[in-house]
């Protein structure tokens, strides 16, 4: 991903209101967040103060108050959504990150705590399946490596070379990556994909199986951020033949952390696979 100049303190302050009101698009918002974290503490404090003031400012809003009954409706809606979520098999929720507090009181991400031996064994078998997939990836690369490396070398495809010559999968297996299964929208399709997302490091490993050969036209990984329905394209890539992996680095950590849906689509935007 191409790096861009961070916003200056002046730009951060000028755009603080637009960011607070959700008026920046996803890419700009991610850039704003990244620049915010790089800014001096005094600038950060001023941005937080401004944004808090703006968000709390009722002067620009209608004077109508909600009906008292709306509170109960909201609580019921959240309870219903929670009940629906609870009805999912534990395997479907493995990998969701919950914030935990370290002993020093700082916040960090960590895996969900599982309760009960049944859940533990389901989680263990799921993790084993993940290991098997990774091993298959290494084997596939081994068989294909010589011809693909030669092609990448001949055509001076440095991106492809970087994928083939590194050993990306092991890092994703051992670190705090979240595993996300993507299912084809077409029930009859035989292709498949799994993502390992490390939002703190800003990287994703895509493992794909049997995506159709698009004669160089490629695919794109896209994500839908929380509060939005429009996908943001994270990276375009060429799928390896058969089974293999694509590693993507230097992605927006904000977008990776707030994404609620992941998709693999063709370049023209036709979604082939999606997370639930």
């Amino acid at each position: 991903m191409t790096s861009v100049e961070p916003m200056t303190p002046r730009q951060l302050l000028e755009l603080a209101s637009l960011d607070a009101l959700g008026l920046l698009d996803d890419v700009e918002s991610a850039m704003y967040t990244r620049s915010f974290h790089d800014a001096p503490a005094t600038v950060q404090d001023e941005v937080l103060r401004l944004q808090g003031e703006i968000a709390n400012d009722l002067q620009l809003l209608p004077g109508e108050e909600p009906d008292p009954q709306l509170r109960e409706r909201v609580l019921k809606a959240v309870a219903d959504a929670l009940a629906l979520d609870d009805s999912l098999a534990p395997l479907a929720r493995i990998g969701r990150e919950h914030r935990q507090r370290d002993r020093d009181g700082s916040r960090r991400r960590g895996p969900i705590r599982l309760g009960g031996s049944g859940q533990f064994w389901r989680a263990a078998s799921f993790a084993m399946a993940g290991v098997s997939l990774i091993m298959a990836y290494f084997l596939a690369i081994g068989r294909q490596a010589s011809s693909e490396l030669y092609d990448a070398f001949i055509w001076d495809d440095t991106e492809r070379l970087a994928v083939l010559l590194t050993v990306p999968a092991k890092e994703f297996l051992l670190d705090q990556s979240k595993k996300i299964n993507l299912a084809p929208l077409d029930d009859n399709a035989e292709y498949d994909a799994t993502l390992y997302v490390n939002s703190e490091a800003g990287r994703v490993l895509i493992l794909v199986s049997d995506l159709p050969d698009r004669k160089g036209r490629g695919y794109q990984l896209q994500a839908i951020a929380a509060g939005s329905t429009e996908p943001t394209v994270l990276k375009r890539f060429h799928s390896p033949a058969g089974f293999g992996g694509v590693r993507i680095d230097e992605l927006s950590t904000t977008l990776l952390a707030t994404a609620i849906k992941w998709q693999i689509a063709t370049i023209d935007g036709t979604v082939l696979l999606s997370s639930s």
């Binding site: 709390n56 609580l75 509060g227 952390a257």
Partner: protein, 186 residues
């Protein structure tokens, strides 16, 4: 415990689905979210539906709230406005609601918008102040802040550079807040 730590604890509890925590979140921000929804959506019923959806979204994303990045009120407004803008776009695609202009006239498509009953005195003051802004600031605020167009869309519609649109919106909102606050100062 200082406020932002309390906010983090609250959102932790919301993420776990504690009804009491969701209730607290609504008690703090429900009115604000409703007012924003009411500003952008045509009817009270639609605004109430949107508020429900927004709080479900806030629960879904509670584990992603980072007090170092934003105050909780900012996070709530961000999630809320994004949902409302998506809703406006869906309505526009389906043709169920026209876009709203500060002067009450119809949008570019020629469809008369559903009347927004912004009768109260504060809203009249707001609309008056918007109409008094410099042309570019007025148009950008109407399109982006009231009608839910993205800044890129506004830039394309006006044929103005994106940076110009952002500056106009930022300065326009700042001027609007000053003037409206002056109107309501005791």
């Amino acid at each position: 415990m200082i406020q932002h730590e309390e906010d983090s604890v609250l959102m932790d509890r919301v993420a776990r689905g504690e009804e009491g925590a969701v209730g607290e979140l609504y008690d703090r921000f429900g009115s604000l979210v409703f007012k924003v929804a009411r500003q952008l959506l045509s009817t009270r019923a639609e605004a109430e539906d949107a508020v429900q959806d927004i709080f479900v979204r806030l629960w879904q994303t509670a584990d992603r709230y980072d007090h170092r990045r934003a105050k909780l009120v900012t996070w709530v407004m961000l999630i809320g406005r994004r949902h409302l803008i998506d809703r406006l776009r869906r309505n526009a695609v389906r043709g169920t609601a026209g876009s709203f202009r500060a002067d009450g006239t119809s949008d570019e498509s020629g469809h008369r918008p559903e009347r927004k009953p912004l009768e109260d005195e504060r809203n009249d003051s707001l609309l008056q102040r918007i109409a008094e802004l410099p042309e570019l600031q007025r148009v950008v605020i109407e399109k982006a802040y009231l009608q839910g167009f993205t800044l890129r869309e506004v830039s394309e519609q006006l044929g103005a550079p994106l940076g110009t649109v952002k500056s106009a919106l930022s300065r326009g909102l700042a001027r609007l807040r000053e003037r409206v606050r002056a109107d309501w100062a005791v």
